[in-house]
């Protein structure tokens, strides 16, 4: 501690070490938050449902997505990425996931929303298995904290069914 440089160096090192501890504590404080998000997705309309020229089924639908994800936000949350996926089983694959819509929620104020939209990404099956197919719509989210580990969870909504015929 005998010179300006020594003192500056000691201070900077110690300050950054403490900053790391503070960030770790902030990240740890997230474990005291027990989120209770809710979500509801309605299929309002099947706009069209057809077989593409090369044989894959494609659906276009209008969705109403409403969710309340406010309880995911803590003081250490930067943003939340959320997406709705259609999930179904085919003879070849036990789980098919197709992202239909996604969004980034930047703040707690925007975390309660209701969106009326047609699917943002195309709902195309690898094959022609979609006729009369029962599927789940799952709301997945990834919480991105300011410091610490990213974590994810989901709400599965069951009991949706595609029409028996192309239209």
């Amino acid at each position: 501690m005998h010179s300006f440089g020594y003192r500056a160096n000691a201070l900077a090192t110690f300050a950054v070490t403490i900053l790391v501890i503070m960030c770790a504590m902030a990240s740890f404080s997230d474990t005291f938050n027990t989120p209770s998000p809710t979500a509801r997705v309605e299929v309002l309309n099947i706009n069209w449902f057809q077989k593409q020229l090369h044989g894959n089924d494609e659906v276009s639908m209008t969705l109403n997505i409403s969710a309340d994800l406010q309880s995911l936000f803590t003081w250490n949350t930067k943003q939340v990425f959320v997406f709705v996926a259609a999930e179904y089983e085919t003879p070849k694959n036990s789980l098919n996931q197709i992202s239909l819509w996604d969004g980034i929620i930047p703040s707690k104020e925007n975390a309660k929303f209701s969106i009326h939209t047609s699917n943002k990404y195309r709902f195309i099956d690898q094959g022609s298995n979609l006729k009369g197919k029962e599927f789940n719509l799952t709301l997945h989210w990834h919480v991105m904290p300011k410091t610490g580990k990213m974590f994810a969870d989901k709400i599965v909504m069951t009991g949706y069914r595609l029409p028996e015929d192309y239209r």
Partner: protein, 93 residues
């Protein structure tokens, strides 16, 4: 900066930084604002730097009392000196 001053500077630096960290964390947590925590802590680090890094006069209140050179030359060199002097020399480097 003298020996006492160096000790004081180091202790001040450690105590101030830890105190500001505790205050910053509590402020941030209570206000629910990560930004607030960082701002309070940054302010604390800045203040601590101002206080402990420059060589302020209050770090120099205990100057070392060296023997007068004319007095020292009266004695042969290898003769053991006062313990205070011989102890400081290797530490100073």
């Amino acid at each position: 900066m003298d020996w006492q001053g160096q000790k004081l500077a180091e202790q001040l630096m450690q105590i101030m930084l830890v105190a500001f960290a505790v205050v910053a964390f509590l402020t941030g947590y209570v206000m629910g604002s990560f930004r607030m925590m960082i701002l309070v802590y940054a302010g604390g680090v800045f203040l601590t730097t101002l206080i402990t890094v420059p060589n302020w006069p209050f770090f120099n209140r205990h100057p070392l009392k060296w023997l007068d050179p004319s007095l020292a030359e009266k004695y042969p060199k290898p003769q053991p000196q006062e313990p205070v002097v011989s102890k400081k020399k290797p530490a100073k480097k």
